[in-house]
């Protein structure tokens, strides 16, 4: 049933807006309240599944969407959303600095970048210090026998950082990526199911009793391994091994309340929300000139030039790559 729009205090939107997103979506309650009060919008968030599930959900319900606006489709799934006609064209302005992140060919017309983050190899610096060893730095290093049996990564099949890492190797080695993986696996790389498995169970720096000092994680992870008393983080991200992930928002085709949806996208790009992203969702804002939290300034370094791939490329080859990758890893 449609609800009466509450008395609008500003803008021409108002009414109820349903935001469809994934389970990692999270923003401070205060911000949401303020937004609702200002815009007269009654924001309802429906969060379930991961980015892949979200995209599939949007794709299968393209003719009768379950909401007005979506957030959380990332660059690895962007093409699917575009191909299936999930998003409507809007004339929203892409914020300054976000131009780099748009999907080629769409250029922000339907999918607006909201945040970015990088999947990077992390190392347990303490572990290396204790052994007087230099930690690895590049993808190539991971295949070096000097770092034998030290690396653990989640599977590309069931984990999105795992897939991102595969894409990083594709971006680096092109068609030769399988031979790199051959070497990687030959060097004792352990493949586990999910990120939490790798990080908490196998990684020496994750709090569990792991035995691997090199793990696939995020560029923001070192901010979480600062000891209680303060001091330097015990882990570090290897900035030359990163693959960039970008999350997009957009108004859904066939939405009941497209104006409201557009207002929500605009809000996600607002300075307040952008500033809250690091603490709430462990990602970096796309908007230029937004201040980062102090810990992040110190420990969460962003790579200057991460690996990227065209979403259309990804969409076209993901199937093949995954199949090849599986054949390599399950021999």
């Amino acid at each position: 049933t449609e609800e009466e729009p509450s008395a609008a205090t500003g803008g021409d939107a108002g009414g109820r807006v349903v935001l469809v997103t994934h389970e990692s979506f999270s923003l401070p309650k205060k911000l949401v309240k303020e937004f609702e009060a200002e815009s007269g919008i009654d924001l309802e968030v429906r969060a379930a599944g991961d980015a892949g599930t979200l995209t599939t959900k949007l794709a299968v319900t393209a003719d009768n969407p379950t909401g007005d606006v979506a957030f959380g489709v990332d660059n690895t799934f962007a093409s699917r959303a575009l191909d299936e006609g999930v998003f409507a064209t809007t004339d929203l302005e892409v914020p300054a600095g976000a131009g780099d992140y748009t999907v080629p060919g769409d250029d922000g017309a339907r999918m607006v970048p909201v945040d970015t983050g990088n999947v990077c190899v992390n190392v347990d610096t303490t572990w290396f210090e204790e052994r007087d060893l230099d930690p690895p730095a590049t993808l190539e290093d991971l295949a070096d026998p000097a770092y034998r049996d030290l690396f653990v990564t989640p599977s590309a099949l069931s984990s999105s950082p795992g897939l991102a890492f595969l894409l990083a190797t594709v971006a680096e080695y092109g068609d030769d990526w399988p031979s790199y993986w051959d070497r990687l696996l030959g060097n004792g790389t352990r493949v586990v199911d999910g990120w939490s498995d790798a990080y908490f169970t196998d990684f020496t720096g994750g709090g569990g009793d792991g035995d691997r000092p090199v793990v696939l994680s995020y560029d923001s992870s070192p901010a979480f391994t600062v000891p209680k008393g303060g001091g330097a983080s015990t882990t570090a991200a290897l900035l030359d091994t990163c693959f960039r992930q970008v999350e997009y928002a957009g108004v859904l085709e066939g939405a009941d309340n497209p104006e409201g949806g557009a207002a929500v996208v605009e809000w996600l790009l607002s300075e307040d929300v952008q500033a809250a992203l690091p603490d709430s969702m462990y990602v970096f804002p796309v908007r230029e000139g937004v201040a980062l939290p102090p810990d992040w300034e110190k420990y969460a370094e962003q790579p200057d030039d991460p690996f990227t791939l065209d979403p259309a490329d990804i969409a076209a080859h993901r199937d093949d790559w995954l199949e090849q990758w599986r054949d390599l890893t399950t021999r």
Binding site: E23, S24, F25, S26, V45, R46, A47, A48, G49, D50, G52, T53, T55, T56, K57, A59, V60, T61, N64, T66, R80, P154, S155, L157, S158, L163, R190, V191, V192, D193, G194, W195, S196, D197, F200, T201, D202, G206, G207, G208, D209, G210, D211, S217, Y218, S220, S221, F224, T225, K228, D279, S280, Y282, R318, D319, L322, E323, R326, T329, T330
Partner: protein, 541 residues
């Protein structure tokens, strides 16, 4: 005629529920695969089925499920005997503790298992980490409780006089078991094995975590094809394949299931010398189940390399750097509330199904219809949560069934998952009530409802309690469908635990372990309390 009408009326509710919340969504999703762009394209579906890989996946699925089932039954039978037929001290407590694995989110169990079996773990020397054996062990860990419950419940009700008769005819205890006890027990064992097989064959998380992604099952493949690759025809093909396999299994199971056994509960006997082997197996099993749980407990009590309760005190917060939307304690309340709803829904529907399925048939057609119904309600176990979840979205999207946002969806989905367990717990018991008892009640003036209340219910209330414990545990632990349907401001425990594990930070990890322990303890306590209920008003009519 009247009987048939009454039968139809009774069956109407469960059939409608199943139709709306299962058949329609699943066929909707499958249809998507067969009609990719609105045009019938079966060749795409066929292509998937002819892939080598599909065959391999199917083979591994069947193999691992079979191994898991054999393991669960092999270990579950002696334990069912010890826990339901002998006066082992503390057996009630043990019985409810055995349900704990059932509610632990697979991610958590995976972590616990890997802590035990991993390179650095106490059992690391076995070299099982990431092996198929580890997967099978995991499957057994989860499902041995199903066997113990379903078979134990039936065993408890077995008349021991035919066994005495056999003994006087010269049958040794082993021969008595083989020739008398086993045939009487077989329906329950087949029931349990069917359910366990389906659980194992559709296992998702456990295969992924313990197999280190090296192994694929039909279920993980459907997930992959749907979500990662967006190959809906492929997913539809596998869904249909899965359904066919499940149907075949149910058909076979249905054939061996139906031996009517008249029940007359015997009191548990004191432990005898001949009970040594089963008792030993039970203790071993307990240890095996306790080990990962203890590993969790120990992990949850470790803070910064020292012992401490910080992980527990933090449960009232939203985690390190607000990893959560709501606190863990709030999520626990959500879980309990959802579980209560799911439990009564599953029980009510399950009771109706069980009653309809077990009434005496007067014709072959009637008997076949009842069998068909019986099998139908097992199907939800054989379908991937992914297929069902997306099916909901694309079929329940128009009035009057625009249910996509209904808060009832989560308990309904959970009830649907629990339903087969409820039915399988109740049917063997109901089928064992001598029909002449009902006839006696009728001839004393009791109508159909009164007969149900005074003949069936008194025998049934124990199994009903057992089944509600089951349903409750399933609901508390359900992850697949719930993660798909739950509303963000109303997450359940497994979702919260999953989310904590998805966020870096030692406290988040510790909280995830602590939350798992709390979930496990809550389940054990609730199930124990439920089973301790004495429904005197029913039993004493």
């Amino acid at each position: 005629m009247r009987r048939l009408l009454a039968l139809a009326a009774l069956a109407a509710v469960p059939v409608a529920v199943l139709g709306l919340f299962f058949v329609v969504p699943v066929s909707g999703m499958v249809a998507r695969g067969f009609w990719p762009d609105g045009e019938f394209a079966p060749d795409q579906v066929w292509e998937v089925l002819t892939r080598d890989r599909t065959l391999r996946v199917l083979a591994f699925t069947l193999w691992s499920a079979a191994a898991g089932t054999v393991g669960s039954v092999g270990l579950g039978l002696p334990a069912a005997y010890v826990l339901h037929r002998t006066a082992l001290p503390l057996r009630r407590g043990v019985r409810s503790a055995l349900l704990v694995p059932f509610v632990l989110p697979t991610v958590v169990v995976g972590v616990a298992f890997r802590q035990l079996l991993g390179a650095g773990g106490p059992l690391g020397f076995l070299g099982l980490d990431g092996s198929a054996t580890a997967i099978v062990l995991g499957l057994v860990f989860f499902n041995v409780a199903v066997v113990i419950r379903v078979v134990g419940g039936a065993w408890e009700q077995l008349d021991d006089r035919p066994g005495h008769a056999a003994a006087t005819l010269g049958a040794s205890p082993v021969q008595v078991f083989r020739t008398v006890t086993w045939p009487q027990l077989r329906p329950a064992v087949v029931s349990a094995a069917t359910v366990v097989f389906l659980f194992c064959a559709t296992a998702f998380g456990i295969v992924l975590t313990l197999g280190g992604s090296r192994y694929a099952t039909v279920e993980t493949e459907i997930y992959l094809l749907t979500v990662q690759v967006f190959d809906l025809p492929g997913a539809a093909a596998l869904s249909v394949l899965q359904l066919v396999v499940v149907l075949a299994l149910l058909l076979v199971a249905g054939r061996t299931r139906s031996t009517p056994v008249v029940r007359r509960p015997a009191t548990p006997h004191r432990l005898r010398r001949s009970d040594v082997v089963p008792v030993a197996v039970t203790l071993l099993l307990l240890a095996a189940i306790a080990a990962p749980v203890l590993a969790l407990l120990v992990g949850s009590l470790r803070v910064d390399g020292a012992w401490g309760l910080e992980n527990y005190t933090a449960l009232s917060t939203t985690g390190q750097r607000d990893a959560l939307q709501v606190s863990v304690t709030a999520a626990l309340l959500n879980s309990l509330r959802t579980a209560v709803d799911a439990t009564w829904m599953a029980l009510l529907t399950g009771l109706l199904v069980a009653v309809v399925v077990t009434r005496r048939s007067r014709s072959r057609a009637e008997r076949r219809t009842r069998r068909l119904l019986d099998g139908l309600f097992m199907l939800p176990l054989g379908v991937s949560a992914v297929t069902l979840g997306f099916g909901f979205l694309i079929t329940l999207d128009r009035p009057p069934f625009d249910l996509r946002d209904s808060p009832l969806l989560v308990p309904i989905a959970q009830a649907l998952v629990a339903l087969p367990l409820v039915v399988r717990t109740l049917v063997p018991v109901l089928a064992g009530i001598d029909d002449r008892q009902r006839q006696a009640a009728a001839s004393l003036g009791a109508g159909a409802l009164r007969t149900l209340a005074t003949v069936d219910l008194p025998v049934l209330w124990r199994p009903v309690l057992a089944a509600s414990g089951f349903a409750f545990a399933v609901s508390l632990g359900e992850f697949g469908a719930t993660s798909f349907l739950a509303r963000e401001d109303f997450p359940t425990m497994p979702l919260v635990i999953f989310r904590l594990l998805g966020h870096p930070g030692e406290l988040n990890y510790g909280m995830a372990l602590a939350a798992s322990v709390v979930l496990a303890a809550t389940t054990a306590v609730v199930v124990l309390a439920v089973e301790r209920l004495r429904v005197t008003s029913v039993g004493a009519f």
